[in-house]
C-alpha cells in the first residue's frame, strides 16, 4: 500500500497534490483496493464550482458506487478525460494517470485541514482494525 509523502489526504480517501493555487485530486491506493475493479467514473464539467466535503463525482466498481468528495473548495479547471474510457486507470495508477480533477483553489487555508501522509497511513491502519 503506497502513501506518497508529497501528497495530502482526506478521511474520504482522496489525495491532493498542491501546486501553487491549484490542487490535483484523485482517490488513494487504499480506496481503489477497497472498491475493487472500477468500471465507470462520472466527472464534473470544467468550470463547475466545488465545495469542500461536497460530492463532485462518482466512481463505480463491481462492488459499489461511491461519491468522490472535494477535499478543497474551488473551481474545476481540468478533468481527466481519459478516465471515462479507461476507468481501470484508477486501479492501476491511482496517484498518476488515475488523477481525476484539477481545482483552482478559492480558500487555500482549507489545506490546513488535510492529513499528511503519515497521518493518513495511521488513519487507514485504524480503519482496518
Amino acid at each position: 500500500m503506497e502513501f506518497p509523502e508529497d501528497l495530502k489526504y482526506t478521511k474520504e480517501h482522496e489525495w491532493v497534490l498542491i501546486e501553487g493555487g491549484t490542487a490535483t485530486v484523485g482517490i488513494t491506493d487504499y480506496a481503489q483496493d477497497q472498491l475493487g475493479d472500477i468500471v465507470f467514473v462520472e466527472l464534473p464539467a470544467v468550470g463547475d464550482k466545488v465545495s469542500k466535503e461536497d460530492a463532485f463525482g462518482v466512481v463505480e466498481s463491481v462492488k459499489a458506487v461511491s461519491d468522490i468528495y472535494a477535499p478543497l473548495s474551488g473551481k474545476v479547471i481540468e478533468v481527466n478525460d481519459d478516465l471515462p474510457d479507461d476507468p481501470e486507470m484508477l486501479n492501476e495508477d491511482p496517484y498518476g494517470d488515475g488523477w481525476i480533477i484539477r481545482i483552482e483553489l478559492t480558500d487555500p487555508e482549507e489545506i490546513e485541514d488535510l492529513m499528511t501522509s503519515a497521518e493518513y497511513e495511521q488513519y487507514v491502519a485504524e480503519e482496518k482494525e
Binding site: 465507470f40 463505480e60 466498481s61 463491481v62 462492488k63 459499489a64 458506487v65 461519491d67
Partner: protein
C-alpha cells in the same frame, strides 16, 4: 414454502417480552371510536359450490364480451394465445422471486434479457430495463430521469393529449420533488399537440417534452417535429405509448430521436381484467443507461466462458446505494414481462405487423361506418391507429343508451376533457368483426 403463522405460545412470549397483557393493549393508543368493537361483520361461511354460484350470478351482469365492448382509453381488448398462459403457469416462472442469485436463476434472467431485447426492438431504442409497474408509472419515472439528466432545468412540458391518468401519475410523483415546473401543451383542431403553442412553452429551462404516441385520442403525433423542437432547445423527448400494438405499423419512437420511450405492455399478451395488472416498458439510449430507473439484466460469461445472465448496474439500486440510488424501483413486473415476451415471440415480427394491420383496417372501417350515419362524425382529422374520437349527439346520454342495448360504446371523453363532452373515444381491434361493428353502429343510432 410453507407459511407458519405465530402460535399462541409465540404470541404470549412476545407480549410478555414487551410487557403488555394482550394484543388489544397494543392498540390502546388508537381512539376507541376508530376500532371495530364487535369484530368485522361478515356473513357466515358458505360452501365452495354456493360461493361459485353467487359469484357467477354476479358475473352474469357484466357486459364483458369483448366483441360488445369498444372501450380502449388505456387498456385494449386483444386476443391472447393460449401459449402465453401455458408458459406463465410453469412453477419455475410463476413462483420465482427476484433473481438475485444468477447461479439458480438463469431461466428467469434469460427471460428478462429476452424481454429487454424485444422492448428495445419494439421501441427502436438501444437499451430497455427489466420492466416497470405500468405505462403511467413508467412515464413518471421517465420524467424523473429526464430531470436527473438535465440538471438545473426544472420544467417538464406534458402534452394535454397525453393520457390524463399518465399525467396524474406524473403530477403525483412531481409533488414529492420540490421545484418541478409542470406545464401543459394544448392540442390543436386535428387532435395532435399544437406545435406552435408547444414551441412557446419549451425554453432553455425545459428538461423534457412528453407526448403520447399515439396520444389519448388514438391520434399519431408528429414526432419528428416535436423531437426537433425539443432538441433545438436542449430538452429531451419522452414518448409514452398506451397501445404498443400501434408500433406494428408505426415507426418506433427511437426512429424519431426519442431520448426515453415508455409504453404500457398490456396489449401484448395480458387480458384487460378490470384494468390491471399491466406492465411498464421503459427504454432509452445507451449513453443514459446509468440514469435509467429499475433493474437491468445483462449477458455475461461465467468462469468457464459459457454464456450467462446476471443483474447488472445493481450497485446503483436502492438496497445498495440507499438514498443515493438512481430510483426507488428495485424490482420489476416479472410475470407480466414474461407474458409480453411469450406473446411477442409467438406472433413474431411479421405477425405483429399483420395483427396491427388488422386493427388499423377494422378501426378505419368502423370510423367510416359511423361517419356514414350522419349522426356521428370523426372529431379529429389527425391520423389514427385503432382508436378514434367521434362527436355529434350528447355523448354521455348516447353512451348510456348504448349500454342499455348491451354495447359499451367506447369512453365518454367529457369525463376527462370538459371541452369534449360531445365526444366518444372508440376503440376497434382485431376482436371486432363486421357484425360487432354493426352492433356498435346500431347501438349508437
Amino acid at each position: 414454502m410453507r407459511f407458519i403463522p405465530h402460535t399462541a405460545d409465540d404470541i404470549r412470549a412476545m407480549l410478555d417480552t414487551v410487557g403488555v397483557a394482550s394484543v388489544d393493549d397494543l392498540l390502546a393508543d388508537v381512539p376507541a371510536d376508530l376500532r371495530a368493537r364487535a369484530g368485522i361483520d361478515l356473513a357466515p361461511g358458505r360452501s365452495e359450490a354456493a360461493v361459485c354460484a353467487a359469484v357467477n350470478a354476479l358475473a352474469a351482469h357484466n357486459l364483458a364480451a369483448p366483441e360488445r365492448c369498444f372501450l380502449g382509453a388505456g387498456a385494449y381488448p386483444h386476443f391472447v394465445p393460449a401459449v402465453v398462459d401455458q408458459v406463465l403457469q410453469r412453477a419455475e416462472f410463476y413462483s420465482a422471486y427476484t433473481p438475485y442469485q444468477p447461479e439458480v436463476s438463469q431461466g428467469t434472467l434469460q427471460a428478462v434479457f429476452e424481454f429487454q431485447s424485444l422492448v428495445a426492438m419494439l421501441l427502436g431504442m438501444e437499451v430497455a430495463n427489466a420492466s416497470m409497474y405500468d405505462g403511467a408509472s413508467a412515464t413518471a419515472e421517465a420524467v424523473l430521469m429526464a430531470l436527473r439528466l438535465a440538471a438545473g432545468r426544472p420544467r417538464v412540458v406534458l402534452a394535454r393529449a397525453l393520457h390524463p391518468q399518465y399525467r396524474d401519475v406524473v403530477t403525483t410523483y412531481a409533488a414529492g420533488a420540490l421545484g418541478i415546473d409542470l406545464v401543459e401543451a394544448p392540442f390543436g383542431a386535428d387532435g395532435r399537440t399544437d406545435l406552435e403553442r408547444l414551441a412557446g412553452l419549451v425554453d432553455e429551462r425545459t428538461a423534457a417534452v412528453v407526448v403520447g404516441y399515439p396520444n389519448v385520442f388514438g391520434v399519431v403525433e408528429e414526432l419528428a417535429a416535436v423531437a426537433d423542437l425539443a432538441h433545438g432547445r436542449g430538452a429531451l423527448l419522452v414518448t409514452a405509448t398506451a397501445e404498443p400494438l400501434a408500433l406494428g405499423v408505426l415507426k418506433p419512437p427511437g426512429a424519431f430521436g426519442a431520448d426515453i420511450a415508455v409504453a404500457e405492455g398490456q396489449s401484448l399478451g395480458i387480458p384487460v381484467s378490470y384494468g390491471g395488472p399491466g406492465v411498464g416498458l421503459f427504454a432509452t439510449r445507451n449513453a443514459f443507461v446509468r440514469a435509467m430507473p429499475g433493474r437491468l439484466v445483462g449477458e455475461a460469461q461465467d468462469g468457464a466462458g459459457r454464456r450467462g445472465y446476471v443483474l447488472t448496474l445493481a450497485t446503483r439500486e436502492q438496497h445498495i446505494r440507499r438514498e443515493k440510488a438512481t430510483s426507488n424501483i428495485c424490482t420489476n413486473h416479472g410475470l407480466m414481462a414474461l407474458a409480453v415476451t411469450v406473446f411477442l415471440c409467438a406472433v413474431g415480427q411479421r405477425g405483429l405487423h399483420d395483427l396491427a394491420s388488422a386493427n388499423l383496417a377494422n378501426a378505419h372501417r368502423a370510423a367510416a361506418r359511423l361517419d356514414a350515419t350522419g349522426r356521428w362524425r370523426r372529431r379529429f382529422a389527425g391520423p389514427f391507429f385503432n382508436e378514434f374520437v367521434v362527436h355529434g349527439a350528447p355523448a354521455e346520454a348516447a353512451w348510456e343508451a348504448a349500454q342499455q342495448r348491451g354495447v359499451i360504446a367506447g369512453w365518454p371523453l367529457g369525463r376527462w376533457y370538459p371541452e369534449l363532452s360531445d365526444s366518444l373515444l372508440v376503440c376497434v381491434t382485431e376482436v371486432h368483426d363486421e357484425a360487432a361493428v354493426g352492433r356498435l353502429v346500431e347501438a349508437l343510432g
